[in-house]
Symmetry: none
Subunit: 207 residues, 4 copies
Amino acid sequence: MRKNSKKHIVDVAVSLFNMKGYSGTSVRDIAGKANVNVANISYYFQSKHGLLEYCLTSFFENYLSEIENGYSLLGQKEASEVLKVIAKNILYFQTAHLQLTRFVLREVSIDSQVIREIMSTYFMKERYYFKKVLEKGINEKEFKPISINYIIMQLKGLLTMPFLNTYYVTEVLHVLPYEQYFAEKYYLEIESWIDQVLCEKDVHMVV
Amino acid sequence: MRKNSKKHIVDVAVSLFNMKGYSGTSVRDIAGKANVNVANISYYFQSKHGLLEYCLTSFFENYLSEIENGYSLLGQKEASEVLKVIAKNILYFQTAHLQLTRFVLREVSIDSQVIREIMSTYFMKERYYFKKVLEKGINEKEFKPISINYIIMQLKGLLTMPFLNTYYVTEVLHVLPYEQYFAEKYYLEIESWIDQVLCEKDVHMVV
Amino acid sequence: MRKNSKKHIVDVAVSLFNMKGYSGTSVRDIAGKANVNVANISYYFQSKHGLLEYCLTSFFENYLSEIENGYSLLGQKEASEVLKVIAKNILYFQTAHLQLTRFVLREVSIDSQVIREIMSTYFMKERYYFKKVLEKGINEKEFKPISINYIIMQLKGLLTMPFLNTYYVTEVLHVLPYEQYFAEKYYLEIESWIDQVLCEKDVHMVV
Amino acid sequence: MRKNSKKHIVDVAVSLFNMKGYSGTSVRDIAGKANVNVANISYYFQSKHGLLEYCLTSFFENYLSEIENGYSLLGQKEASEVLKVIAKNILYFQTAHLQLTRFVLREVSIDSQVIREIMSTYFMKERYYFKKVLEKGINEKEFKPISINYIIMQLKGLLTMPFLNTYYVTEVLHVLPYEQYFAEKYYLEIESWIDQVLCEKDVHMVV
DNA sequence: GATGAATGAGTGTTCATTCAT
DNA sequence: CATGAATGAACACTCATTCAT
């Protein structure tokens, strides 16, 4: 009936998963809104869970490649510069995929064996890149001798918060992540944080 | 059959909601694990959704009173001190209620009309307290002339991240929020952030 | 809590049974509207079904005594006169107990073993009285040589129709059985029917 | 599994609704007796209530067309003749659909908003046809100057009584509506009623 | 390749009833 | 006596999935 229905199904699914959660969304909801037959979902993705995996996987593949793009500069640039590029890439990527990002961030916090299995590799890779960058910065006295894991946690907190709870961010704080300038503006906050919390002060104050 | 079953039901429900999400948890799951009759859940909380509201409400009531406890010091202490007390209170409260915190943080990100109605008052109050403290600090030149909403967003990101995704935090970052010392240690990070990102440097560097 | 709660429960039950049917009414509905504890219904009437039996029985006891009051005149008056008195009594009785009448007429049409057992005696008695009156009229050449059972059926149809379907009668036909004058007016119709359909014409045409 | 299961479900439903009432019948009863999956009932009729509407609607559609078939003769025949044809059609139709008729007559007497909405149009149409026929008869001095609504009420009472309470009619009055000759015989009673109660005597007595 | 019909397990909720207090 | 708590069965309905066509 519809051209490119697989892509279309995914779009609709992401939108609904975002709004109502994975468990709260039925395959009939998706099929109905995507205007395809229910059986097609099983046909394309084996099962509802297959559709979930597809969404999660495609998010993380792209998310990781954004990190990798920054990480590849580690030979040429200072660690703080690389960290900033990575942060910027993540921010822009998440801004470009608001619904998917929010849904993934939420769903991944479910204590599911299956989800863990899919995600753990990506989590590990992400941590690996962050760790390498931070270690280089520490070794070269660019960063303070910080706890790597605690810093990753904080950075992740800063980078994900604006995308987690749309209602809170937009209606309570009046921050609009879907506006063009948001990523630019919020990136400056992350930059400050890197400069002021991570970097050795005297080094940068002279500059 | 069982004494105090209402409290018991809530405990079990929080645990299951945390693990499987609200939609992913059935009332039969809860009743079974709590060893009570299914009908009791409707009896006590009217409906499954009533049980959800009960959990959310009791979380936010206590959460807000932690903030208020800190906020009440605003007349006597410096803004940065008050902010630190509030942050500390939140951290300890969330550490003491790991499962409920995680569940609430996740569920609240669902785009539900009903959830919004319950939560918006709490969100507004929370923002009010943060705003007052930050404004005082800015007026008294203790804080830099920062954007209040962006700072609240970052603070919330820092304070919630360790509680959002248990698997990630524990298995990937090896940070154990349920250990006694976690809150103490992580509080120091928040303190640094307040000192370095929020506060005017020269003022505090002399001290 | 409430004086005379048994009577009160019955009144509420009749009203609800009438509106929603016996199966469609829950004991909690009744208890709630009657402002008594649910357990009281089991206490007073053993069970929901006991309450039903109580309602049916009390209806038919009174209904039958209205018939008997007319029937007792059979020694003194003409059969047609007696039949008219009985019809009048039934009409006024049913007008005075609109809800109960409607509910009983409906519920009695359910194919239930239990209902049959309660009702058959009353039905038989009612038929007995009608039969006796009609037989006397036929024997004394007052009535045409009609089929007794077919006549009872028609008389019952005429006497019950206005009470069966309130909506139809009031909203479609604009006949208002709860108005004072209805029974008077409708009785004239029944009288005509007796005179014209049952009675030998020449006898009455001379008069 | 089963061909034509929709029709089969309706048949079973009518039978059970007739015996136990709508509220007293569960969808599991129906599915079980019809030997289909419970979910099929929702699938075919959306809900239990959809199944009810389907039954009611199909009854009244056919019932009305029986009336219309008689009414269409109004240009060619006398009003009393037309009324007799309509009465005959109704009697034969109801005899052919005993269970459905009984169930509809009962259920329609429930004070339900929804039922009213479905039925009121049919009721209005039925009244319209009766009214037109009666008015013509009155205008042409064929009928006495009767009250139209009261006459409709009586006619409906006469036509429905034999179908309302199977137990009473068969076991108490020994009238068997499912026997072939019943409709023929009972029609003569209706005919008498029309001739004797509705029609001007002298006109017809000469004939 | 795509679909409508059908399935059985599971959903939240309500039921009449019981019983300790 | 009267009640609120509690029960297990039943309620209508929705679920993801399958499969013949």
